[in-house]
Amino acid sequence: MSVIRDFDCVVKHSEQVLPGVVKIVFDCAGIASVALPGQFVQIEPSPGAFPVTRRPITINRLTENGFELLFDVIGPGTELMARMKPGDEVRILGPLGCGWTVEPGSSWLLIGGGLGAAGFQFLMDTVDSTTVLIGASDSDRVIPLGACHVVTEDGSAGGRGLVTALISEELLAGADSIAVCGPVAMMEAVWSTIPEKYRDKVQISTESRMGCGWGVCDGCSIPVSGGGYKKCCKEGPVFSGIEIDWKRWKEAGL
């Protein structure tokens, strides 16, 4: 990233896709023309004084002239965002951060937990070959993606169980890269399931409470191996799995 740009994006479409999950499509060629899978944007939920910071959301996919976001409505920021209507102008900074590291022609195994799979679509649209495993608590938390293997904890969609049960030696061995995104506990379970020898293929998409989102406030630290921290917003949000200090990261909470 060498320049950051702040855009007044226009809401093109907004829709509730699952209970409490909203999809918004923004028109913004400026962001769409340079965005890479795994990058995020910082949205101003309101032109008013509060909330004082923006909200980071992963780019779920590109659209004709812009991009699509998919988010959980969980607090004041996302509630304001859920109320955005077509035609509204919204200040959005992006694209931000480093996305997935994609080698040309590579085949991918994508492992997502619930809304963590938001963003996978962009990766699926970009790379040649993907196998997608999705775990969720129930069918209300399974976001619509193309072909994928789904399990839910209550069995209301796909098989009953945890996403770790779908992971096989065969899938791990067959993939050039493994992308994991979801709640920290789920990612940790996935990480523990993956044998040592496949771990250097694993990339993890992290989340952290953010101030700026563009690298200046040091607020979004992710603990890394060997002590110290890296910035989720600038050096992440995607890190290699071996880079992360899983123990300290779990202790941190969100």
């Binding site: 702040d6 004082v52 910071t53 409470r209 101030g211 040091d218 921290y229 941190a252």
Partner: protein
Amino acid sequence: MSFPPAIPREFWGHNFDSPVMLASGTAGFGEELLDLQCLSGVGAVVSKAVTFEPRAGNPPPRLLETPFGLLNSIGLANPGVYHVLKHILPVAAGLPCPLLINVAGESVDEFADVVRVLEGSSAHMGYEINVSCPNVAEGGAAFGVDPQVVLRVAQGVSRVTDRPFSVKLTPNGGDMVQSAEAAVEGGASAITVCNTFLGMHINWQDGKSVIKRKVAGYTSPALLPLVVAKVWQVSNAVSVPVISSGGVSRGDDVLQLLAAGAQMVQVGTRLMRRPFAAAELIDEMKKLTGE
């Protein structure tokens, strides 16, 4: 001062393009902003805090947003003074505006020790001495609440540099006017009013704080009237210029702080939401004053 206030400012004998400074801890060392092309409208950059030894900073989460403000618990994360001197200041030398280096320490002597090392660079115009951190060596209260300690810190810094320095006071206890007077007696060339207010958020469901250190620094546009009062009190008491820090989110906030007696006005939290905050504030000021 004259009304409406002029937008370019003379400060410490130099001409600054703007009275808006980027506050410590919200703009790195300015060098990243240079890359990002967002230094337009910026009169000066204040670096994040530099300590003698490298500091990893506090464990995450380091930020927590409340309905009307932001709690931060960064913990003075920085790579230490030698790394800053060798690897960061050479890049920051390319900034199009003056740089002040914010200096922190755990003992009275550490401030002067850090400044002594930084004197090896010409990338910066001066210093901001952050006496809001805890005086670990002498009991843990913030240096800034005790005028005698402030005096010793300022005298120590005066001894090792001829560059101008501002002492950045804390609003959390003590008497800010007395501490400001002590800083001036010790040789301070300005007073920064002030650092963050201590704040806390507790989850009532379990009585726990998300932020591990529990008490953190709180910022909010709603704190502006507190900062205006302190700027007015301190600028009426001391002969050196006052730099305000806190509460700015709009152009008229800057104008109000200048009217209250600030010579320069820092912006911090707003910058996190708006990378181009300085230019936006200057535009709003010009619109309001018809300049």
